[in-house]
Symmetry: C2
Subunit: 158 residues, 2 copies
């Protein structure tokens, strides 16, 4: 297999852009992610890949739960703010206002939609771990169109 | 959790549209899919959810391999042709010309890109099964922009 061709083909998978948050004993963890998809209607399950050596991975492994926020078309700045580690300052995470979910996970108030997930299975083996998780709570704050990875000019895949 | 809110939030996940093919002793299997994402760079892994009661699921479970074709922006008709079961007629599958991959899997010649995958893990439990699979071969035939699920006006999720 030609690695350049493999890279080009895999970069033709369409993605949205999301911010995931979690919380463990050491505090909040967060990150911008795009490797996510639903994988069942009943029960409602999603599959998501978190980087194995990340704080987000550590917090999700410990707490078994996380929130995924859908980033809106005009919120590229918000997504970009989560390319680095989580930094809490007052009621703001990486500069963006949060509430606490019922489960104590940081919940960003600006994104148009979010869903909270409980891990049911995981698959290790690559540089990211696949978490399969049940959607247990969800919210929609606006009808904003979602931001796609293609919109941003960034790539994460290949 | 309000099911209508959950549905609306999950439908804000951005997807592409793809055609997956597989082959087992009973013949070819195929289907249009959108629940797929990469989940590792090294090794190159993808995660995909196939409907548990489908012929595609049966063929992938038996053969442990499949091909995913990226559908181009102007190929909504091709994707739509794979909303039904696989029907082979001469060198055409559901009306679209195929070759055989080195592994004997139907390979559509019209899509702009494809990748062949070998299953490494699976997670059952929902109405679809998650297959984690290593990308072992890939091809790019054109620079066409990928079709997104949003482009089609279809939904599969929620």
């Amino acid at each position: 297999m030609d690695p350049a061709i493999k890279k080009k083909a895999l970069r033709m998978i369409t993605y949205g852009l999301f911010v995931a948050t979690a919380q463990d004993d050491s505090g909040p963890a967060a990150g911008a992610i795009n490797w996510i998809s639903q994988n069942s209607f009943t029960p409602p399950l999603i599959m998501v890949a978190f980087k194995a050596d990340s704080a987000l991975h550590r917090a999700v492994t410990a707490s078994r739960k996380f929130i995924v926020h859908v980033v809106g078309k005009d919120q590229k700045d918000l997504a970009s703010a989560f390319f680095r580690g989580a930094e809490l300052s007052g009621d703001k995470l990486n500069g963006y206002r949060i509430e606490k979910s019922q489960d104590g996970i940081p919940l960003l108030v600006d994104p148009p939609a979010w869903f909270e997930c409980r891990v049911t299975n995981e698959v290790r083996g690559g540089d990211h771990t696949v978490f399969v998780a049940e959607v247990v709570e969800a919210g929609v704050r606006s009808d904003a169109e979602p931001l796609t990875l293609r919109d941003t000019g960034f790539f994460y895949g290949g």
